[in-house]
């Protein structure tokens, strides 16, 4: 137990440079054009001089960059993400967005793990069969496709042409789909979840299949078979256990990548999450909001990686903690 805690602390220490790196990059880019006011002027048509004055004061713009960065970092440590150009505090806006994003991402992740592992195992057990070709082909298409484009195609077919499902937003404004607020939310979730699950699945199936093929060639599998164990036991208790641990790492990194890739998917579905908000904020150059969202997504990615590392260590007895 003590070694586990030490392990967690070491991983947490690694997060500090990552976090600082992102903080420096996001803060620095806001100052790339000299004074951040130049950026604000571009995003905001005809700003009020009094507003600019207040911003100068609020963000300490009369002081050198490194000093302002330290102020900003200090505020960040205290949960204060500043005030967006629209005048509202960033921290209070981010909460609901983060929940929307997580709702979609976690649902898709669970679905793709539950479907992806058995499909990958099946594909590896029937290597070079017709079904295996169908699965690997479907997977490599999912791997090669811009996520958002698949979303657009599904919206065109199922929303615009067939009228079966809503194509934008997380809830309806005027009336409920399927006549009930809960069903309405589910209806809105279907298309974005489907797209995200397919793309996640592509990665997971490919990896599970490749790892299973490699593990099944090992001598201990031959030994297990020779000792008369059933094929089912050999596959699931011996092979999968060893094949799945590298997959866990990739799932963690992939979850991080999917979080970072949220802008395009969420924009396609007008999904009220962090990615959609980020896109809008970056287009209007609302730098404090952009910085806040980037920091929050980075933290979410780091937590995902930490959970992955721990799962990996618990799953694979060969990895020693400490």
């Amino acid at each position: 137990m003590a070694s586990l805690i030490r392990y967690i602390i070491r991983r947490l220490l690694f997060m500090i440079p990552v976090f600082l790196g992102v903080a420096i990059l996001t803060y620095g880019v806001g100052n790339a054009a000299g004074s951040p006011l130049n950026l604000i002027r571009v995003g905001l048509r005809n700003p009020n001089p009094a507003v600019l004055e207040a911003l100068t004061h609020y963000y300490h713009l009369d002081q050198p960059v490194w000093q302002r960065f330290l102020y900003w970092l200090w505020d960040l440590m205290h949960g204060n993400l500043g005030v967006s150009i629209s005048g509202r505090p960033v921290a209070s806006q981010i909460g609901p967005w983060a929940l929307s994003t997580l709702e979609l991402q976690v649902l898709a992740l669970i679905l793709s793990i539950v479907i992806g592992i058995p499909v990958g195992v099946y594909s590896s057990k029937h290597q070079y069969s017709k079904m295996d070709y169908a699965i690997t082909t479907t997977a490599i298409f999912g791997y090669s496709m811009p996520t958002f484009w698949l979303g657009i195609m599904l919206v065109i077919i199922f929303s615009f042409n067939l009228g079966l499902l809503p194509g934008s937003g997380a809830v309806s404004v005027s009336y409920y789909w399927w006549g009930n607020p809960l069903l309405d939310q589910i209806a809105h979730l279907i298309l974005p979840t489907l797209v995200l699950t397919y793309v996640n699945l592509a990665t997971i199936v490919r990896l599970v299949r490749a790892n299973m093929l490699e593990v099944m060639r090992q001598d201990y599998i031959l030994a297990a078979r020779a000792s008369g164990l059933s094929e089912r036991t050999v596959t699931y208790r011996y092979a999968l256990r060893n094949a799945v641990s590298p997959v866990v790492t990739i799932i963690g990194l992939g979850f991080g990548a999917a979080l970072g890739g949220a802008p395009a998917l969420e924009t396609t579905f007008s999904w009220p999450g962090l990615g959609y908000a980020f896109t809008q904020a970056a287009l209007t150059l609302d730098i404090p909001l952009v910085q806040g969202i980037t920091i929050v997504i980075t933290l979410m990615v780091l937590v995902a990686i930490l959970i992955t590392d721990l799962t990996y260590a618990l799953l694979d007895p060969r990895v020693t903690i400490g």
Partner: protein
């Protein structure tokens, strides 16, 4: 072991090529890649309209669905989708190839240094590589593209996107090169070269780097696909260069017309899928062909 490995003179590359030739999906991928490269080179000659041309508007054909004259339809603004997709091929391949080339150079150099030397410098390099490996790069790419495009580097156009993608995209190569360098530097042929008096620089770039080229080539090929996809996302969201024809820009315009002009969204997307698929199949094939562990 089969016969061919016992022949003398069969280098790693000729063995790899023999294996690659037998791999059907790798050949399909290569054919797709060759096709897209041909389209990119010939773009100005085969595209019926110049890039970003609104000519069909004056021919009264704006917003028309696919027809004999406009096989992929026309946007409401009068842009011919077929013509624009061809011009986009040229520009998107430029982004993918250039960014992959630059990141390979950066990644090999930093990865080799981080793997070869010991001490503070290599620790810091490893830290930097890991930071770039886990940060949410797409967000930073979008942010950089937005801020730099009209404040600092006006007029760089698509090259700005290449530079930003490269700045954030080199870590996967560096990771692999570092690992391979760590493994190779303890091997006997390196120690032999060292005892013959080869300096660090010569050891690294004459003896170590040439021996880790095959994984680098595989990842660089797969990276081309990744960079093209990222460029498509950047332009789709409106952070790209609005004056250069790219697939992403077409999809961006298609998205605002999505309720009426489905053809503006469908066809450029198909081009993206096919092109990226080609590079992915080719990369997978190279990986199978050059991976010595899979030789049986």
């Amino acid at each position: 072991m089969s016969e061919e490995h016992l022949k003398r003179g069969a280098s790693q590359w000729s063995v790899g090529w023999r294996r690659f030739r037998k791999n059907k999906s790798a050949l399909i991928g290569s054919a797709i890649v060759v096709f897209f490269i041909a389209v990119a080179i010939l773009a100005p000659y085969i595209a019926p309209y110049p890039a970003r041309s609104y000519l069909p508007l004056y021919e009264g054909e704006a917003g028309t669905p696919p027809s004999f004259k406009h096989p992929l339809g026309v946007e409401d603004s009068g842009i011919d989708v077929f013509s624009e997709t061809i011009h986009g091929t040229r520009n998107d391949l430029y982004v993918g190839l250039a960014a992959s080339l630059i990141t390979t150079l950066i990644g090999v150099a930093l990865g080799a240094l981080a793997g070869y030397f010991k001490g503070a410098v290599s620790d810091i390099l490893l830290g930097v590589i890991q930071v770039f490996f886990v940060i949410p790069v797409l967000l930073l790419i979008l942010l950089f593209a937005r801020v730099f495009s009209f404040l600092v580097f006006k007029g760089l156009g698509l090259t700005l996107i290449v530079l930003i993608l490269s700045f954030f995209g080199w870590s996967s190569i560096a990771f692999i090169v570092r690992g391979e360098t760590l493994r190779l530097k303890e091997m006997e042929f390196i120690q032999a070269a060292r005892s013959l008096g080869a300096g660090s620089f010569r050891l690294l770039f004459r003896h170590i780097v040439p021996n880790i080229l095959s994984p680098v080539i595989v990842v660089a090929t797969l990276n081309i696909a990744g960079f093209i996809l990222t460029e498509v996302v950047v332009s789709f969201l409106g952070f790209g260069d609005a004056n250069t024809s790219t697939w992403g820009l077409l999809l961006n315009e298609g998205f605002s017309l999505v309720r009426t002009d489905w053809w503006v969204s469908l066809f450029p997307g198909l081009a993206v899928v096919l092109c990226v698929l080609g590079f992915n199949l080719m990369g997978d094939g190279l990986s199978d062909a050059l991976n010595p562990r899979l030789r049986e």
